[in-house]
Symmetry: C2
Subunit: 157 residues, 2 copies
């Protein structure tokens, strides 16, 4: 009962939802919806993303080192839901999804409200996930993106 | 220019906004607004919160070990903004703020939509912040809390 409450509350913790985009060794775009993403440092700019140990996403992140985190607009809802499925369960979850790219060619959600180009600098096993720590080398925010689209409190504090 | 873009995009990454509540050694309630919070594991339930190295919040978290993360409703906006100020800048930022408590007596935002009672299990310096890693021992979610109040995509994926 106690553990149940903890897990239920953890599932309801407010988080953003982003797309993690990466190029495979064959330069094919791959993307996955991630919601356990957190800024970790301003100087240097760094963020963390917690991934499932056996996920294709973590395997690619480890193998390639460079990935993009992009922020979807509401219009991309169906793609975000589609890309949230596990590759283990869906033969080709990228089918029918059109992605954009960062300046450096990393895959991002189409019509992104913003993106961050990241390079892995470390990882740490935490419970049943792996926290990947990355430095942000470049970033972009769409003009006129209203704060409420990004965060519960919209940076009003 | 490149670094500027990275920092700007990092500031716009969608995150939730929570209250971190803790009891001082004299059992006085203290609370601070935090937005760099992230779930890290379901089994065991764990989360991370990145704090400023010289903040009173980190000093208290290190000294006491137990803290609560609570999720505010929109009605608590003014308290959340007030508690987002630095203790170094405001003599007594707790003045005029009424808090609730977890089952275990840790401070939470009044009328919380949910809370998680956490115990520190580790920390890691990441850039200019310290990532505190904690296990969630207990949690609670208010009945009828609509998912959109919590997260950008509301768990619809």
């Amino acid at each position: 009962m106690k553990g149940e409450g903890a897990a239920a509350a953890l599932r309801q913790l407010p988080t953003g939802v982003c797309l993690l985009g990466i190029l495979t060794a064959r330069a094919e775009p791959y993307a996955s919806t991630v919601s356990w993403v957190v800024p970790l440092s301003f100087e240097p700019p760094m963020l963390g993303v917690a991934l499932e140990p056996r996920s294709k996403t973590l395997a690619l992140v480890r193998a390639m080192g460079d990935f993009a985190i992009s922020v979807p607009r509401a219009e991309s809802r169906s793609d975000v839901i589609k890309l949230g499925r596990s590759s283990a369960e869906v033969a080709d979850k990228m089918a029918g999804v059109t992605l954009g790219t960062t300046d450096g060619g990393l895959p991002i959600v189409a019509g992104a409200a913003g993106w961050l180009a990241c390079r892995v600098v470390g990882e740490q096993r935490v419970g049943d996930h792996v926290l990947v720590i990355a430095e942000v080398g470049a970033g972009w925010v769409a003009d006129g993106t209203a704060p409420p689209a990004w965060s519960y409190w919209g940076g009003s504090g």
